[in-house]
């Protein structure tokens, strides 16, 4: 499994590089605008400014547009979304107008229209539009997620949590939603709930170190001896998964072991036997020496305070 993820990340990186190269080429009049736009769509890259510029120039060119044939409608959609990202509501409105004339009654266009309301900040209208879509198809994941996004954009976190919970009751295998919920819970300081979400994320994708790290941080924040010990273990697993490159995890191990020794006042034999914290401290020192020598003294002092070096 690790090998396949490595390959897929490698190809993803190559595609991204290709995207940037194509962007450069197209921006300087070297052609390949359509290839660039197709690739951006496939990678779901969010580069609204170039997409808007290149897409509009394609759409305004009648011969180029007719060459695209039925592909032009996807381009209209792409440009509309990019225009909304750039706050060019007028352009978006035109694109959506063309699309709704071509596909009357389409859900996909309906979503775009709702998105336009959102871009204008017309929350009530947008919410009504999404509710309509959901009435026709209660499994429209995008509409569900947009509704959550609206609640979040209004700063109404409790409603967002409510919607997210409802969404997750239906689509409980959607780990992006779990991550969103976890982050909202952290921002609301509801750490126990956040911990649950991170557990869910770790279950779904156990090889992603960021989830281990986030879970450890939530546990550390919760405090208490047991949570601290668990947090230290998760910091350790993050170190293992990242090959010791994650500074945050190294700090985490140091902080956890300092907090644990404070709580147990050195009575805990089991913790003392582990060398992890001193190793982590050493790794930190080495890292700082290499990358930021001016701050090395600070780190050394801090670690001394924690009695780690």
């Amino acid at each position: 499994m690790a090998a396949t993820t490595a390959i897929s990340t490698a190809t993803a990186a190559a595609e991204e590089a290709r995207l940037l190269r194509l962007e450069e080429q197209a921006e300087h009049g070297g052609g390949g605008a359509w290839e660039y736009l197709s690739l951006a769509r496939r990678l779901r890259a969010r580069r609204p400014a170039p997409v808007l510029r290149l897409g509009l120039s394609l759409l305004n060119d009648a011969s180029a547009r007719s060459r695209l044939a039925s592909e032009q409608w996807t381009l209209y959609e792409q440009v509309a979304v990019a225009a909304m990202d750039c706050q060019r509501v007028d352009v978006a409105k035109d694109c959506i107008g063309v699309l709704s004339k071509q596909f009357p009654g389409s859900t996909r266009v309906g979503r775009l229209e709702a998105l336009l309301f959102e871009a204008k900040g017309d929350w009530a209208e947008a919410e009504r539009a999404y509710a309509l879509i959901l009435e026709n198809n209660p499994f429209d994941q995008i509409a569900h997620k947009r509704k959550i996004a609206i609640a979040k954009a209004q700063g109404d976190m409790s409603v967002a949590v409510d919607y997210l919970n409802k969404y997750l009751e239906l689509f409980m295998a959607d780990h992006d939603a779990w991550r969103e919920l976890a982050e909202i819970y952290v921002s609301l300081q509801m750490y126990k709930q956040a911990a649950f979400c991170y557990e869910e994320l770790i279950l779904a994708q156990p090889t992603i170190p960021l989830y281990h790290l986030a879970y450890a941080e939530v546990l550390y924040t919760l405090g208490g001896l047991e949570n601290l010990q668990t947090a230290k273990k998760y910091y350790a697993s993050t170190i293992q998964l990242t090959g010791g490159k994650n500074t945050r995890a190294l700090f985490g191990v140091c902080l956890c072991s300092a907090a644990i020794s404070q709580l147990t006042k050195g009575r805990n034999k089991e913790e003392d036997s582990s060398e992890l914290q001193s190793l982590a401290a050493e790794a930190l020192l080495k890292d700082y020496k290499q990358r930021s020598p001016s701050k090395e003294a600070l780190i050394a002092g801090m670690l001394k305070n924690m009695k780690l070096s």
Binding site: N137, L203, A204, A236, A283
Partner: protein
């Protein structure tokens, strides 16, 4: 070897070529008819909420089962209870539901309708052409393939001729029809585009595969396998691994 049979050129002009042309035309026609008859895609996928939810539950339960060693014991226990706890667990399948599921699949009128349409567009033209070929062109040799074949090919190439003395490399007209029926797939994918090929074999496969999935059954199976797994927390071991990683890093 028996002496060569001389095939009349009229056979080529009035049987061999027309038969192939008609087969191609029918294939193209069938494609367009089935396209017309296909119900619009927007109305067909309106999945039942229960099925969607059950599918998601199964995915989530499976990830709990496969990576249970990555979460603390307490968290695992809570989740296991949540999934498998008697009647209220998420993976619990009511008895009558399990039996109903199979029946519901057959009684779903939409699905049956769709299948019938597909079948109809496949079977009706086939029957008609077969009858037509049988009526007009039965019982004579229509072509000769340029290489010899063994006796086993007789059934395939000389359908409709009950003579054992004719060389196997002669093709009867009915067999020519069958060869066309199954052999034109490549041509259709050229004419109608790659994905539009009227691929009968694939249609059959889809039909068979579509009936197999039964969420109630996979729920039960998932519950059973969750019931028996032992939780073995991998994190304590991770600490030692992390130590080794750091040691290696420091040595560099």
């Amino acid at each position: 070897m028996a002496e060569e049979l001389v095939l009349d050129t009229a056979i080529r002009d009035w049987v061999l070529v027309p038969l192939s042309v008609v087969m191609v035309l029918i294939g193209v026609l069938r494609y367009f008819v089935s396209k017309l008859m296909r119900s619009p895609p927007s109305s067909s996928p309106s999945p039942d909420p229960k099925t969607v939810k059950e599918g998601q539950v199964v995915i989530r339960a499976r990830s709990l089962r496969t990576s249970s060693q990555f979460i603390p014991a307490k968290a695992f226990k809570a989740r296991k209870l949540y999934y498998t706890n008697g009647e209220s667990g998420l993976l619990h399948v009511p008895k009558e539901d399990a039996q109903k599921a199979q029946a519901a699949m057959f009684s779903d009128p939409n699905m049956a309708m769709d299948m019938m349409k597909k079948n109809l567009s496949m079977i009706v033209p086939q029957t008609l052409t077969f009858a037509w070929v049988n009526f007009f062109f039965s019982g004579f040799v229509a072509a000769k393939i340029p290489f010899p074949l063994t006796q086993r090919f007789r059934g395939m190439l000389q359908n409709g001729i009950d003579l054992s003395t004719v060389d196997v490399s002669y093709v009867s007209s009915r067999s020519w029809y069958f060869l066309n029926l199954f052999g034109l797939r490549g041509l259709f994918s050229l004419i109608l585009g790659e994905e539009n090929a009227t691929d009968d074999a694939q249609k059959m496969m889809q039909m068979g595969g579509g009936m197999g999935f039964n969420p109630a059954m996979s729920l039960g199976a998932e519950k059973d396998s969750l019931d028996i797994i032992q939780h073995d927390w991998a994190l304590p071991k991770m600490e030692h691994h992390a130590e080794e990683v750091l040691r290696k890093l420091l040595k560099k």
